[in-house]
């Protein structure tokens, strides 16, 4: 009895409830596509986007549960990836990117926005919301539509009763299949992981389209800044140029960073560094040009004004911003073609069913799927003789055109940006001079300090001991006849002192220029340090020649410092040393706990100073949990291959 009841319930669930569930899922799908459209709007409005994503996650989780419970889907719940929590720095500010924020809320909002923007799960959910109407609307619509039609047919007399019976039965029979179809499509569209970033040609072109559009937007923003600059400058006879420029430069800098991130074009900041404030003359006045000022304020603003107006980058920025009048529409073209072609002419007819069929059933007024195409025909863009279905091939053609245009237009934009947004040769050289001046000063200071240290060590150490030896030997000469026993004691003492002097000299020499480096070159010197380091160090070197002695020495001491740091925390270290294309690269990897902070230790700064004198760089990657990787790079040439003495 009980088994029979259970079986009856199953049949009820399978057939009777299925049609109802189809109707519910249809409503969910409609809600989903509406929400997806809101998502797209929120994305363009930027501010509500994070909130909209949170809502989308809840909606999709609900849809997923329903698909599993009712439609046999197997796709599991995916917990949303945890949001980054901004932590205050030591000074109490919150950091996001290269900007500091006073309030944690702004920083949290910025990082949340970035997080959702890069989260493949968000894109996957949105894709499902947008595609579900196309894949599942007609099957889901079929059972409720058949029942509705059956109920309408009841009015048409006895034959109507028969037709209604057939329609309702068909509805109940078809409903489970519809549900299965819905479940399958949810499995395919919502499967996790979202997969690695696609790199096919089409998806590259599509990405390029949207990025081009984004850059056009930033370019237009810069145009707004340029209009402001022009108006302010004309109205104030040039007086407000400084004010306007300091406002617009950050905008252009944002463009530079974004263009670098999206198209890979290298656009370093071209602006001249802010000059130091004017110092007062011997009579206490501040000079600007041929005029003397008693108060510094005015001289400072004049100097700043001159700093901006004499910087070629200011005027090149302006010229570039005005070029948005032509450049921005061109860059928007692929996105517009795809938007109108694919989403307008192809997508609209395909997603017509879920909203047009209910309207048609309820009002009897059937809207054509190709209504946008007809709108174009009414506008006279397309001859009215062309049939409606031509909208789909025409839309696909426009889409392909948009995709094809993306790459050449990106190249054109990159070329134009490179022409105007990069620093001029003069600015690059000026920057280089400043950099070399400071690194030369640092190197000279370091060399002087080093010499002072050596002098002090010799003076207080070996030199003093040799004096003691000399004194001792003098005493021995006097005592040899009278007190041989004491003379012998003094001799032994003199020997000990000279041994100590030797040991001190050896240590000193090691610190100046390690003997093994002079004798064997960098490769063996590094092996020698590895042997002396109290933990296993794997050394992998490939240097087919010798380096400049000065570079060799700087690199040697940098490796020493790095290994000494690693030895404090790690249990094994790997060190590779390679020379390729005029660049010496050392990579030191240790298995320590990571989390090393370059700003706290003096070791890394010392290495930077040593290598900086040769234009070398140091980078430290030390995520919490390790491994810590220190990469040191020095541009240098290799001399002729090592000639063996044997």
């Amino acid at each position: 009895m009980l088994a029979g009841a259970a079986a009856k319930t199953r049949v009820m669930n399978r057939y009777a409830l299925a049609a109802l569930r189809c109707a519910c899922l249809l409503l969910v799908t409609a809600a989903g596509v509406t929400y997806a459209l809101l998502m797209l709007i929120s994305l363009t409005l930027v501010v509500p986007f994070p909130a909209a994503v949170a809502g989308q996650q809840r909606l999709v989780a609900f849809g997923r549960r329903l698909a599993r419970r009712w439609a046999g889907a197997t796709v599991p719940d995916v917990p949303p990836t945890p949001l980054p929590v901004p932590r205050p720095r030591a000074d109490g500010w919150y950091r996001h990117g290269v900007t500091l924020y006073r309030s944690p809320r702004t920083a949290r909002w910025m990082s949340t926005f970035d997080h959702y923007g890069n989260d493949p799960g968000v894109a996957r959910d949105l894709r499902w919301l947008l595609l579900a109407p196309v894949t599942a609307a007609i099957p889901l619509l079929l059972p409720p539509a058949l029942i509705a039609a059956g109920l309408l047919a009841l009015r048409a007399g006895p034959w109507g009763w028969l037709a209604a019976g057939v329609a309702v039965t068909a509805a109940f029979l078809v409903a489970p299949t519809s549900l299965r179809w819905y479940g399958r499509s949810a499995d395919v569209l919502l499967r996790t992981p979202a997969g690695p970033a696609r790199t096919g040609r089409t998806s590259r072109a599509r990405t390029a389209c949207w990025r081009l559009g984004g850059l056009a937007g930033l370019h237009l923003a810069a145009l707004g800044g340029a209009v402001l600059t022009l108006a302010a400058t004309i109205l104030s006879w040039g007086g407000l140029l400084l004010w306007a420029t300091t406002l617009t430069r950050p905008m252009t800098e944002i463009y530079r960073r974004q263009a670098h991130r999206w198209t890979g074009v290298d656009l370093p900041s071209p602006y001249r560094p802010l000059p130091p404030p004017p110092a007062p003359d011997e009579d206490g006045n501040y000079r600007h040009g041929r005029t003397l000022y008693v108060e510094p304020d005015f001289a400072i603003s004049l100097q700043r004004h001159r700093w901006v107006s004499h910087d070629p980058a200011t005027w090149r920025d302006q010229l570039w911003a005005w070029s948005a009048l032509l450049g921005a529409p061109l860059s928007l073209l692929p996105a517009v073609l795809i938007g109108a072609g694919f989403f307008g002419l192809v997508w609209q007819p395909l997603s017509w069913a879920p909203w047009a069929v209910p309207i048609g059933l309820a009002t009897g007024y059937w809207i054509t799927p190709f209504y946008l195409w007809h709108a174009l025909q009414l506008g006279g863009v397309v001859p009215s003789a062309v049939p409606g279905w031509a909208s789909i091939p025409a839309g696909l053609a426009l889409t392909l055109l948009g995709l094809a245009l993306a790459a050449p237009l990106t190249r054109a934009r990159t070329w134009w940006d490179t022409l105007l947004l990069r620093p001029t040769v003069g600015t690059v050289l000026a920057g280089r001079v400043t950099e070399l001046n400071s690194s030369r000063a640092v190197t000279a200071d370091a060399a002087a300090a080093e010499l002072r240290r050596i002098e002090r060590d010799l003076h207080d150490g070996a030199q003093a001991r040799l004096v003691a030896v000399g004194l001792g030997l003098g005493a021995v000469a006097r005592l040899m006849e009278t007190d041989p026993a004491r003379a012998r004691r003094l001799l032994a003492q003199a020997q000990e002192t000279s041994a100590a002097a030797l040991a001190e000299l050896r240590d000193l020499v090691r610190g100046i220029h390690p003997p093994v480096l002079a004798e064997r070159g960098l490769t063996d010197a590094v092996r020698a340090i590895a042997l002396d380091t109290p933990l296993p160090v794997t050394v992998d070197t490939d240097l087919p020649g010798r380096l400049e002695p000065a570079v060799e020495s700087a690199v040697y001491f940098s490796v020493c410092e790095t290994l000494a740091n690693a030895a404090r925390v790690a249990s094994t270290v790997t060190l590779t040393l390679r020379h390729q294309d005029g660049l010496l690269r050392m990579v030191v990897t240790d298995d320590g706990p990571g989390g090393a902070d370059p700003s706290t230790g003096t070791g890394l700064r010392g290495i930077m100073r040593r290598l900086g004198a040769f234009d070398g760089t140091v980078t430290l990657h030390s995520p919490p949990g390790g491994p810590t990787v220190v990469i040191m790079e020095v541009p240098c040439a290799l001399s002729s291959p090592k000639t063996s003495t044997s």
Binding site: Q495, R510, P515, E519, R527, L531, D532, T533, S646
Partner: protein, 215 residues
């Protein structure tokens, strides 16, 4: 006992020659640069050569290279290398052929004439003479996972002296132990390092050092 001496500093060369002669050695040749060292080694076939690492004309590791070359040509040719600094790297290269009869000492050790000439004799007899600093570095460089960490402090001391090439009696005197206690420590060291026991001085030093080199 005939010695070939190679040292570029005039004062030190004469001092060493004097020291060796007063201790009963015969100086077959005292040379000041690499090429003449090579000539002297082939011409005089000395019982032992005392060689400075850094020699003209290159002032790099010329002396060491010639010593290694000569030992490749004549395996077991006794050579004592002197240097102003000691490197494990060089010690390993000298010991690599496993033929014994090598020494590697800091120049400072000539200050103690008796110990130095002892070392020269040991090398000439086919033993080894490693500078205590090299041994200390070898022992220090072993990570926490090496079998060396299983040795007791006293066993380490014994191993250090043993690796310098000292006899059981010398070790016993140095550490104020009885000969039998030293033998027991040595047996324990061999067991802990997994080496077959042996009475032969040279072989046991080689075994220890080869073992350390492999680590």
């Amino acid at each position: 006992m005939r010695v070939v001496l190679a040292e570029d500093l005039h004062l030190l060369r004469d001092g060493l020659a004097l020291l060796l002669e007063t201790h009963g050695f015969t100086i077959a040749a005292a040379v000041a640069d690499g090429p003449s060292l090579r000539d002297a080694l082939t011409r005089h076939r000395p019982d032992v050569a005392v060689v400075d690492v850094r020699l003209p004309p290159t002032f790099t590791d010329e002396g060491l290279q010639i010593a290694l070359e000569a030992r490749r040509a004549t395996p077991g040719l006794p050579i004592l290398v002197l240097s102003a600094h000691v490197e494990q790297l060089y010690a390993r290269e000298l010991l690599a052929d496993g033929a014994g009869a090598v020494g590697y000492l800091l120049k400072d050790r000539v200050l103690n004439g008796d110990q130095f000439t002892d070392a020269v004799r040991r090398v000439a007899a086919g033993g080894t003479a490693m500078d205590p600093q090299v041994i200390a570095k070898l022992l220090a460089a072993g990570g926490p996972a090496t079998p060396l960490s299983r040795l007791t402090a006293r066993e380490r001391e014994v191993l250090e002296l043993m690796a310098q090439g000292r006899s059981n009696t010398a070790i016993a005197q140095r550490l104020f132990l009885s000969d039998s206690a030293v033998s027991k420590h040595i047996a324990a060291i061999f067991t802990k390092l997994g080496l077959p026991p042996s009475d032969d001085d040279n072989r046991r030093v080689m075994a220890v050092l080869t073992y350390l080199n492999a680590g």
